[in-house]
Amino acid sequence: MKRVAALVAALALIGVATWLVLPSAPQVRGQDQVISVVDGPADDQQVRLDSTFFPPAGGGRAPVVLLAHGFGGSKQSVRQQATRLAQDGYAVLTWSARGFGRSTGEIALNSPDYEVKDVKQLIDWVAKRPEVRLDAAGDPRVGIVGGSYGGAIALMTAAFDQRVDAIVPQITWADLADALFPDDAVQAPASAAGGSTGTGLGHPETGVFKRMWSGIFFGRGLSLDGFAQQGQSQGDQGQGDQGQRGQGEDGRGEGGQGRGQAAAPMSPQEARCGRFLPAICDIYQQVAKDGRATPEAIALLRASSPIAVAGRIKAPTLLLQGQRDSLFPLSHADANAKAIAAAGTPVSLAWFDGGHDGGNGEADWLHEQTSAWLARYLKGEGSAQAAPPVSAFTVTRDGGRDPGTRQRIRLHPEASSYPGLGGTGTTTVQLGGPEQSIVNPPGGAPASISTVPGVGALLGGQNGGVSLDMPGQSAAFESRPLTAPLQLTGSATAQVRVSGKGEATLFAKVYDVSEGSQLPVLPGGLVAPFRVTIPDGAGSVVATVTLPAVDHGFAAGHRLRLVVTTTDMGFATPAEPATYQVSLAAPGLTVPTVPALTAAPAGIAWWVWAMPLAAVVLAAVLLATGRASSLVPSGARPRGRARPADLHADLPVDLPVDLPADDRPAAVAPAPDVDDGDGGRRPVPLEIKGLTKAYRNGEPAVDGLSFRVEQGQVLGLLGPNGAGKTTTMRMMMGLIRPDGGEIRIFGEPVTPGAPVLSRLGSFVEGPGFLPHLSGRDNIELYWAATGRPPADAHFEEALEIAGLGKALKRAVRTYSQGMRQRLAIAQAMLGLPDLLVLDEPTNGLDPPQIREMREVLKRYAREGRTVIVSSHLLAEVEQTCSHVVVMHRGRLVSAGPVSRLLTSATPANGHGPRLEDVFLDLIGDKR
């Protein structure tokens, strides 16, 4: 019990200590500010930016982080993130960008003339704050973090303001023109128009209009101030905060205020353009109607694109891009990374499970990465070492399910350099399939579905959600089942031949097709739109299609299926009906791979093999050390109250008979000096020397006991309750280890399981049988357990003593106490042991049986064996035993033949001496 209590106390202590040691997050309080800035191409437009400044939680001067919100959000939608950063020890400034929230001005799409100028003035503002650490006068130690629209402003500002020290743009664009007008194919032999822009992205002049996303994007700018705010919280999740649940609530609060003021009717211009800059609004109206990018539109969008100015960025950049993002796919982070790295600026990339189309969002992991990046480049010095390094390239992968909780787990394999979308190696997967005819339906409907922009997160399952190809509109080319797993990391490329007339708008995608009932999976829900122009008279054209960048593992046995469709719900497609024939120009699908990434998470944790080995070693040590101590002769080291020097003093000083040492045949005498190896003599059946055993509480149960039993004796072991008789018998059986002294049976020291115990028959403290077995089975199985030959058992003789008759066939649980007692004595006599030890054998027996037992024991001893009987029935002992040993409080009080014991006593009141009187006299309990 003490140990249990100690364990509980220790656990409680650990719990309390953990509670105390674990830091609780410090409180952070934001200060609302309205900061006036001046911007515009001519620096003549006054804008009031609604902002909140969070001083660092630790106090003092700290680096400052500008935290930008996503499109359609406001400073409220990043409040939680701001608090978290402030708790990490940064000063944080959040603001609503011009045209959003309560800030004034119009949306200019992160234009260098507008938003970038605003943020530069915000940096001027924070440089004046006493909480902000400065690199130089007017130059604060500043980082910019933001997602989507906020990510683009981070990149743009870093390009135009060299004071920026680190940026973490998330799910943002490199080229807004390409994002809205992607064209992912290069037409051979001569490209139709424009050609490559050299940015690594497509050529928006021929790009396919990303209709639904553009509509949502523009619509969100429209709806900010006036009507229908329902999409707001959804928008915040998708755009501003990458699915940090609950943040939409903040945005909705802001929107609610806008709604409250929405009673005023809007002018036609407001209804048309909302808070967009009229120039942007006009261009949007134009391209949305035509579904074609005009040169003006491209110029305007390019002005707001980091790709054009990324070479100027000197601030170390961590690009976090979502794998589930059909608005700003991974290729945009790729383009940014390449452009920034080309200028020699440190860049790291992570493809996480999230994006504008949903996914997990990985808010915590993104925060970790962001913190590590900021710690390294803003806090510097010691913090850089403390923070985990951010790898050049990290990809989030599905790690299966946690075996304990059955929850999805994500792995983050890393690579020390960014390989680009082409991978560090390529595998060519052979596709097959005949030329197929596909039609563009009139009006472009019904359209195939790859991702439903904006609601992908709601519909999407783990692997890309709904994807549907309309029959007749799609051509499929399939590989054979993969013989080995294939991990695609980057953009696969394929060559297709398109036959028909005029211009064809097509969409290419690669499915992961498994055998069986599962639907094909479209990784990331992503599709590559492309437009080809079939020259007159040529009849066909070959296009090299760059498929969407994804990280996807194709399992062995799965197939890759390249599908080319004429429609996609997210894009503007021609209304004219048309028919094309699509075939493979080259059978190979080039699949980029990055083997360095796969190596990281693989391998078995070291403890998997180390722990069992260590356990086996520990087990061996436990057993080996346990064995060593158990083999020490039990009498070798007396301890506790055993005092070897006292052994003689402990001898029965009040021994009534002075026994000569050589009076062997009749004597039961303390014989500490007798050598058991005495030449030629048969070993003494039982010899006990200085035997000591203490109870757990230290009180001695047996204290320096010594006596000897000779062959042929029936020895009565006498003593009041608690005298130590049973303890002594248990030590004879090797059940209890003595604290000191030793017991020898036939000259052999008794240890647990000592072979010499096979010559000992015992019945101590009641019978012990398997209650479900019959008496006979019990006896036979017991003998079988000794491993000795059945012929040696003498079953019939033993069972005759038990006298159970037919009852032997009944289960022992039906037996009376006396029956069990007799059966137990029979068991003790199995094999006719040379030394028989019986503890209270007559308990529960009736007088005739007692009498019979007496005769049995006497006869047994006469046959040259030895019997030890403990009893408290003194008359019984007197009649049965030849010798007695009297114990009291664990010590020997007297020993000797019964006759001598009796004669030594003074006859009392005329009768001959009775054992009872002698006994009571000896134990000093005379009445």
Binding site: G404, A615, G753, P755, L773, G787
Partner: protein, 281 residues
Amino acid sequence: MTAAPGYAPRRTLPLRVEIVRQFKRRRTIAMFGLLLALPWVLVIAFQFGPQSSDQGPSLRISDLATQSGLNFAAFALSVSANFLLVVAVALFCGDTVSSEANWSSLRYLLAAPIPRDRLLRQKLIVALGYSAAAVICLPLMALLAGTLAFGWNDIQVPVTGEIIPALDILPRFGIVIGYALVSQLVVAALAFLLSTVTDSPLGAVGGAVGLWIVSTILQAVEALGALREFLPTFWNAAWLDALAPELDWSGMVKGASISITYAAVLIAVAFRRFRRKDVVS
């Protein structure tokens, strides 16, 4: 002459004798009866229950149970592995020494004398044998009952719903049973240790099951993070990986590693304690 003629420590308590001693016990027979009857009870329950067919493909393991004998066996194993088999194993291993102490027969076996290490070894072997038989007989009987009731069809994987040919999955089923055996080793070792510590069979069996439940509860505490991986119950359901379309060993290897680690130490402690123990029952 140190020992009685014919006595040899190596011949004491033969396995055959211990098997007979344990087999005739009511709890042994009752437990096996329960394990063998459970699949049939489940079959009957599925026959009586409202048919939820044609309600769209819901792919929980219980919904798939009636699709084939193999599915049914997987289902039977999944519902019993967490508790019933734990109790069965704890019963066979926790009861073996403590019940002897409880009947007082332990001291006569030790005085026979059966060396203590040998007594424990023989009892452990027999108890593990009975435990293994229990763990094996349930899924096999479920396989038989399921095949008779629902036919020998291909297996449909829970959660993903993929179809795997029945013959392909049969070796996997062997892996499942093998892993179930290994993962129950912890329970067996824990119960066995408790069995040598206490004289009350109920205490040993209940203690082992109780600690198992505590571990299961701790495992649900996500705050413990990676520490949970070292709980003996954490990898209990890892055998599900063996039925996935792609056999994933990692979870099972970790589970086996943890299981063997705990079992080795616990059994060693049991032997060490029992050697030094004063048998007073």
